[in-house]
């Protein structure tokens, strides 16, 4: 025992209280979520700073004698003269499958009261986008379940497709529909034990939105059973501008984890207009020089570096993908404003929603003429390409002719036929919210339209025809639908089967 005591005493005598060097600064000025800190000589750009009391900051501008820091948390608890410590770590958020089904804030902390997040891994919020060598062309489709989008503005996995339109035109609904569609496809593939199907996980980033709107979206996703495949990152309007500015980057980091691990993910940024406004606020408080519409000079880089992180990577690099659906809200349909033009030029196409169409009852209110998808057609299902190839041109022609026909002049038979077909196609593409349609059903319906099976159906009964034809296909001709899904193209045999089914249906259809 005596020896043991001596040993302990010797240990105590030899013990050294080592202290590592820490870089510390002092708050010189604080307000609006931004602090100016003196000291912090060795701090890195985008380094996390510890303000104490569980409050974190991010070094955003390094100046000669001070550091501009954005505070993530309640900055009202901080005061001039308080100490700030550098952590030596870049801002990072938890990533992984543990986040699926959860609602988190910008820092990845849970907001849903379902306990801590089971994630060991963290990714930096700011990360360089995959380079040229790592990328491969977009080749697999994202089935949105919205017939008009899947037929005419197809989106591929790894694409960046902008959803743009005025307020209340159904921008968010398109994205929520897409998320629900993915969840249903994932669940169906899992139930069927289809190992070849690559599930698509969704991340919904809400930036500067009302808490009630976010709660409603969560409710819709829960009701549709989409939450197990979805992460919600909420930075509502009550969050500081700094949190709102970082939210899409944190969401992108969570999506990148799926991409890096050979999985596919879809990220919705709702919306980047509010994000640009939050960044403008942060920049102005940091006293950065302002440019057009008082946005800072690097607002283009802000969105380009964010959206460049969406990619499809090669097989050597995991074969994963991150598809981005950014949303931009326009004012009175003005797409030539600063932020809309920026984001239009960054993305691989846009879906433009019009207020007029919305109030005419054409929902989704997608303006086909100026909506494009620059890379998605390569990813489109061949069967869909076969039936919908001419549709966009036909519809554009119809809009032109319909405007002309308003003058009441007499029309020749060919023009009248085009207008009649166009009216039916427009009616067909009307689709209720949160009710995505399977792609094989879409092919069957569009095939019937293209082959004149609806020409004698009155316009006001088109939806009825569509519902019954869909029901007929799914209940009595399920084998044909299954073949379309398996073969992914319309072979002559399949077309003959479809024709036989359509003829049979037409006999039973009550005129």
């Amino acid at each position: 025992m005596a020896n043991l005591v001596q040993e302990i005493e010797a240990q105590i005598a030899g013990a050294k209280a080592a202290a590592a060097r820490q870089s510390v600064g002092v708050i010189r000025e604080i307000g609006d979520g931004v602090a100016k800190v003196e000291g912090l000589d060795d701090v890195m750009l985008n380094e996390m700073l510890d303000f104490g009391q569980g409050i974190t900051g991010l070094a955003l501008s390094l100046e000669e004698t001070e550091v501009g820091v954005i505070v993530l948390g309640d900055y009202t608890q901080l005061a001039e003269g308080d100490e700030v410590r550098a952590t030596g770590k870049l801002l990072q958020v938890p990533v992984g499958k543990g986040l699926l089904g959860r609602v988190v804030n910008t820092l990845g902390e849970p907001l849903d009261g379902k306990g801590p997040i089971s994630s060991e891994l963290a990714y930096p919020v700011e990360k360089l986008a995959p380079g040229i060598i790592r990328r491969r062309p977009v080749g697999q489709p994202v089935q949105t379940g919205i017939m008009l989008v899947d037929a005419m503005i197809p989106i591929g996995r790894g694409q960046r497709e902008l959803i743009i339109g005025d307020r209340s035109t159904g921008k968010t609904t398109i994205c929520i529909d897409t998320i629900i569609s993915q969840a249903r496809l994932n669940a169906a593939a899992a139930a069927a034990g289809d190992a070849s199907y690559r599930p698509l996980y969704s991340i919904y980033v809400a930036i500067g939105q009302k808490q009630s709107t976010i709660a409603r979206i969560i409710g819709v996703l829960e009701e549709a059973g989409a939450m197990p495949y979805t992460i919600i990152l909420a930075s509502p309007a009550s969050d500081s501008a700094t949190s709102q500015y970082l939210a899409p980057f944190a969401g992108a980091a969570m999506g990148e984890w799926f991409m890096d691990h050979g999985m596919d993910a879809l990220i919705v940024y709702d919306d980047l207009s509010k994000h640009a406004v939050a960044y403008r606020q942060v920049s102005l408080v940091l006293k950065r020089p302002s440019g057009r519409e008082a946005y800072p000079g690097d607002v283009f880089y802000l969105h380009s570096r964010l959206l460049e992180r969406a990619a499809r990577v090669g097989e050597k690099y995991g074969n994963g993908s991150l598809t981005a659906l950014p949303i931009i809200e326009t004012q009175s349909g003005d797409v030539s404003a600063y932020i809309p033009t920026n984001v239009i030029s960054i993305t691989d196409g846009q879906i433009f929603l019009e207020t007029d169409l919305f109030y005419q009852g054409v929902r989704p209110a997608i303006s086909v003429g100026i909506s494009v998808s620059r890379v998605g057609s390569a990813a489109q299902l061949k069967a869909m390409k076969q039936v919908a190839g001419q549709l966009k041109g036909d519809l554009a022609q119809f809009r032109e002719l319909a405007a002309f026909a308003q003058f009441g002049s007499e029309l020749d038979a060919a023009t009248q036929a085009k207008i009649d077909r166009g009216k039916r196609v427009v009616e067909l593409f009307k689709q209720g919210q949160y009710s995505p349609i399977q792609v094989e059903v879409q092919v069957g319906v569009i095939w019937a339209v293209q082959n004149g099976y609806v020409d004698d159906v009155p316009v006001e009964r088109i939806k009825e025809f569509q519902t019954e034809w869909t029901e007929f296909l799914t209940t009595r001709k399920a084998a044909v639908l299954q073949k379309i899904a398996q073969e992914r193209a319309l072979s002559p045999d399949l077309i003959a089967e479809l024709k036989a089914a359509a003829d049979q249906f037409k006999q039973t259809w009550k005129k």
Partner: protein
Amino acid sequence: MKATRKTRRAARRLFRVCQVDGRPDAERVRLVTQRVAGSGRRGTLAILGDFSRLARLDRDGHRAIVESATPLPDGLRINLLRDLARVYGQGLETSFEVNPRLIGGMRIRVGSDVYDASVRAKLAALEARL
């Protein structure tokens, strides 16, 4: 008058003029302060405010504050001065202060560098970890 980019630039230039061998010369600093204060020009106060801030930051960067819970023995002080000179070079102005709030151990601050081996810091770290 509020500090502007122009006044900050002027203060920086004046501060550079006062440097001799990389450190501000006391005589020059005094002279510049007197001349600027006496010039009666617009923005004088803002320039002097920035100038004094630069002088303060420079002084803090060359000043070591050693805090301990109890007064340090002379031998330890000499060792500390020698070690600090080795790391930060000669010309470091060192002051020793007694701060019972540290409970035990020592805390050294040189500019923005802090070496905190106090019991209080360790307890705070333990609290954060728990």
